[in-house]
Symmetry: C2
Amino acid sequence: VLEIENLQKIYMMGQVPVEALAGVSFKVDHGELVAVQGPSGSGKSTLLNLIGALDRPSEGSVTIGGIDAATLDDNDLAELREKVGFVFQFFNLIPRLNARENVELPLLVAGVDREERRARTEDVLEKVGLVDRMDHKPSELSGGERQRVAIARALIAEPNFLLLDEPTGNLDTKTAAEIMELVSGLNQEIGVTVIVVTHDPEVASFARRMIRLVDGLIASDEVN
Amino acid sequence: VLEIENLQKIYMMGQVPVEALAGVSFKVDHGELVAVQGPSGSGKSTLLNLIGALDRPSEGSVTIGGIDAATLDDNDLAELREKVGFVFQFFNLIPRLNARENVELPLLVAGVDREERRARTEDVLEKVGLVDRMDHKPSELSGGERQRVAIARALIAEPNFLLLDEPTGNLDTKTAAEIMELVSGLNQEIGVTVIVVTHDPEVASFARRMIRLVDGLIASDEVN
Ligand SMILES: Nc1ncnc2c1ncn2[C@@H]1O[C@H](COP(=O)(O)OP(=O)(O)OP(=O)(O)O)[C@@H](O)[C@H]1O
Ligand SMILES: Nc1ncnc2c1ncn2[C@@H]1O[C@H](COP(=O)(O)OP(=O)(O)OP(=O)(O)O)[C@@H](O)[C@H]1O
Ligand SMILES: [Mg+2]
Ligand SMILES: [Mg+2]
């Protein structure tokens, strides 16, 4: 499903290059659940952004389902992104939309009719424990509630590939476990491929494979 | 140092009241290090915002150093806030300022001269491990790096009271421990009073007292 080859990302700070990824290669098969760990600043979010085609690499390639993201134009990239569910580290919710509207958005974009949108949105908000907060805008939600809205939005379009960047960083242990049960259920029952970046050992324990990044390079890649 | 009496906060969602805090009372003595835990949405951030005089309670009172925050006008409130170091759950960094400028800001507001500002800013950024990222704006920093900038900004004015809202949620275990060593050092060596909201048991273990909030009420308040 995913092949990463010598992936590099260099940000230019004026004349000074910052090497976020220094050459990363690995493959992920269909239906895998992989955890990515590493110190703060080691390149985890950068890696996820490149896999999700949200940014372009400086060197190297990302191939999803046989297609090299670098060969796609902006329209095709947008189509690719629809098949991938993404939970950003800081959520990227739309401030003036409420929880229901934020979660519904991917279905609105996909042209799903109103009736079905409403039903599927309420269903997934129920699964993340936010039925009582559907009409709240992000500024009217707690940190963990916003995070769960972002998770619900990533799940609503039933993607077969999930990229999760610290999905439980703002959740208590019990809520975090419930979210990971949900994700691991999708992985085991319908074969959704998952890559989850996490600092939390409890969350990493759901994965069967653990990749460790240090200073933009793979330090280890072990079976969990 | 701090006395909280029957504190309530009700948000109005149209006609529907949301009770974030339902009547919370406790005292914190000078030099204490207190952890606050509780499920997502249980009122932890609301409690911290009211203690830091960033919002006004619906009922009840917050008294810091003998002064009831509700009796202060906006000017006095601003003065009170200068004595309290606050790390917000989502940092509230100023996007167009770089790390150095964000951290320097409290000293700029306090009228400290440029030479001293620079030296103290570099010193505290060194303490949180960000000497190499001082010229990066928030959008050019990783999640954990932004969090450490927010922590450095809360420490720079050497407050005698620290309010930390999930200060390590985006940090790996090692960096989180380093930050808490720093905080606990300030508490033990110079008697800074600390209240830290956290979902992380490792972080909570630095505290000698643990308050647990559930549905806006204190469920337990135990010695750790
Ligand atoms: N402006 C608001 N309008 C309406 N409801 C609000 C508002 N702000 C917060 N709330 C609600 O108040 C409750 C308490 O929020 P608070 O941010 O204090 O929770 P928290 O304990 O910090 O949770 P978390 O661990 O998820 O950060 C939440 O259920 C939230 O939905
Ligand atoms: N736009 C940018 N310009 C310059 N440097 C950047 C930019 N974005 C990220 N960086 C740097 O690249 C490095 C990797 O960032 P990345 O966000 O991938 O880290 P991370 O592993 O996700 O860390 P965290 O656990 O703190 O979220 C960091 O040191 C960061 O300072
Ligand atoms: Mg990150
Ligand atoms: Mg909170």
